[in-house]
Symmetry: C2
């Protein structure tokens, strides 16, 4: 069982690699090799199997093909230009999120083995004129270029799978919070930083009101669900490879109160509210009320509470001083 | 008012050009020029304004750009690899239906004038696991490569419009019947030929059962609706530029009986039923029960009965011997 993680330098790619290293197996078979690829060669991960690191720009078809030379059985394709950047730099978003994804699917197709490809889509595909409660059969109607580009990836994923070129799965990720690391160009970046920075003694700015509601999942639940996506039976996926992952709906205010219950008043005092219209314009097009029926039927799961998300962050991601 | 019709050699492109020639105006302004483009330079059309014919392969970005040198105000983009061929020749379908459409949108964007672009999508975007009655907010879930490629064009059309690059409109065409001309590689080709050929004394083969139901519109209604699509206010289109055009639902059996009422028993006797599994596999994924709410609110219209479709064909398309 050989695994390729494209976007392997990001926090999800690294966490998936560490989870695979911990279990040593995927879909019932021992893992023999994990290749981590990103624009810059990713940090290696300690593992009981071989791990290689590769620098590649998937927007270039030849570089995407080169990643597949070792003939992976399972591919996690996480690489993307994130929402804020795709909105500001339209052509770059098209090149990486559309052309890059197509290059990845084409490289997988060229193997002739129909490998499993888990393509991370996003709940940013929802928006605009759709009913409030989103079902698996609700129109995707993205109101951002990032969402449109992810929706195009979903269509390709389903059609390449229907044709037998790949065995694709396109889970739509909730906003993943609390994400470790530093703020990035995702419009959703604040949805982690307003918890992550205060929990570590730093100030953070919240650009939306307390009543802004989001559909979210912890990194721990997301990694478990993405690995499960690689393991579910293709037949159970039916006629559409794209589906919403389980998550929770909560307002910023409710999530802040959850952090208070776990970590006390001090972190909460470090959050400053400063409205930002550019960010609000993007995230207000996203939709929090999602009924992830297919994902639940596949056995995928959500977090139990945002308190858990806070605890997971403290356990998994906060660097402790050596005792 | 300068108009460009890409796919101007096809029956819809020719009929749109003739309708524009008859009215001399589009969206309240006098037409000064119509350019007809297709793989081979289309037949010219008699008109009170200049008409030019151009050969271009839109799969080639430079050739697509060349079509926009005269800076059209309104573009009808009808060119496509049809359903049966896109299923048999996947890469050709991707090249023309995805890359070609993107090349057209990019060429329109490069003008800097945000021209109106009417992109003909298709009800083939619907399929799979969706409710029986299709609303404007029902998930597109294509079960053919043609449908997937059209759905990708829709997403691009909406996002390019949201960004102000073009003023796009992506009506989803019902099956257009009775289409003039000869059978083609569309899986829906029989939905015209079982009427067109018998009405002209020839035999025709029906590859599906009499109870197969389709969502259809006449060429006359379709041309009127496409021209209206170029004229509707952008604001009325809301947050999704793709929407189903009005049509009628009917079974093959009901449509044959309508032909009998208009043209007698003889044409009906010329239809032979011979099941074809390849065609059935494609068209059984299409969905006939569509509620085209947005299109009706925009003032677009459906035929009154299939009898009308038969009469329109006899009036508009059957070559009469000179008296």
């Amino acid at each position: 069982m050989r695994v390729l993680i494209i976007g392997g330098g990001g926090f999800l790619g690294q966490k998936i690699a560490r989870a695979l290293a911990a279990s040593g197996r995927l879909n019932g078979a021992p893992i023999t090799h994990v290749a981590l690829a990103d624009l810059a060669a990713p940090a290696p991960v300690e593992a009981p199997f071989g791990v290689s690191a590769h620098a590649a720009d998937i927007g270039d078809a030849a570089q995407a093909r080169a990643l597949f030379e070792a003939s992976p059985d399972v591919v996690f394709h996480l690489a993307a230009v994130v929402s804020g950047q795709a909105e500001a730099e339209f052509d770059l978003g098209m090149r990486v999120n559309v052309d890059g994804t197509r290059n990845v699917f084409e490289a997988a197709r060229a193997l002739g083995t129909s490998p499993v490809v888990v393509f991370t889509s996003s709940c940013a595909v929802y928006g605009g004129e759709i009913p409030e409660a989103i079902e698996d059969w609700t129109q995707v109607n993205p109101q951002t270029s990032y969402g449109a580009q992810k929706a195009i990836g979903e269509l390709l994923c389903t059609d390449y799978s229907r044709k037998g070129f790949i065995d694709g799965r396109a889970p739509r990720l909730p906003t993943v919070t609390i994400r470790p690391g530093r703020p990035n160009a995702a419009a959703s970046s604040f949805m982690s930083s307003i918890f992550r920075e205060p929990l570590q003694g730093e100030e953070a700015v919240c650009p939306v009101e307390e009543d802004y509601a989001l559909w979210y999942a912890s990194p721990r639940a997301t990694v478990a669900n993405l690995i499960a996506c690689a393991e579910v039976d293709a037949a159970a996926l039916g006629e559409n490879r794209a589906f919403a992952l389980p998550g929770r709906v909560g307002t910023i205010g409710e999530m802040i109160e959850a952090m208070r219950r776990v970590a006390g008043d001090d972190p909460v005092r470090r959050i400053r509210f400063e409205p930002d219209e550019t960010i609000r314009a993007i995230v207000s097009g996203w939709r929090p009320h999602i009924n992830p029926r297919k994902a639940l039927m596949l056995g995928l799961t959500a977090d139990a509470s945002f308190e858990d998300n806070v605890r997971y962050f403290l356990e998994d991601d906060v660097r402790r001083e050596p005792a």
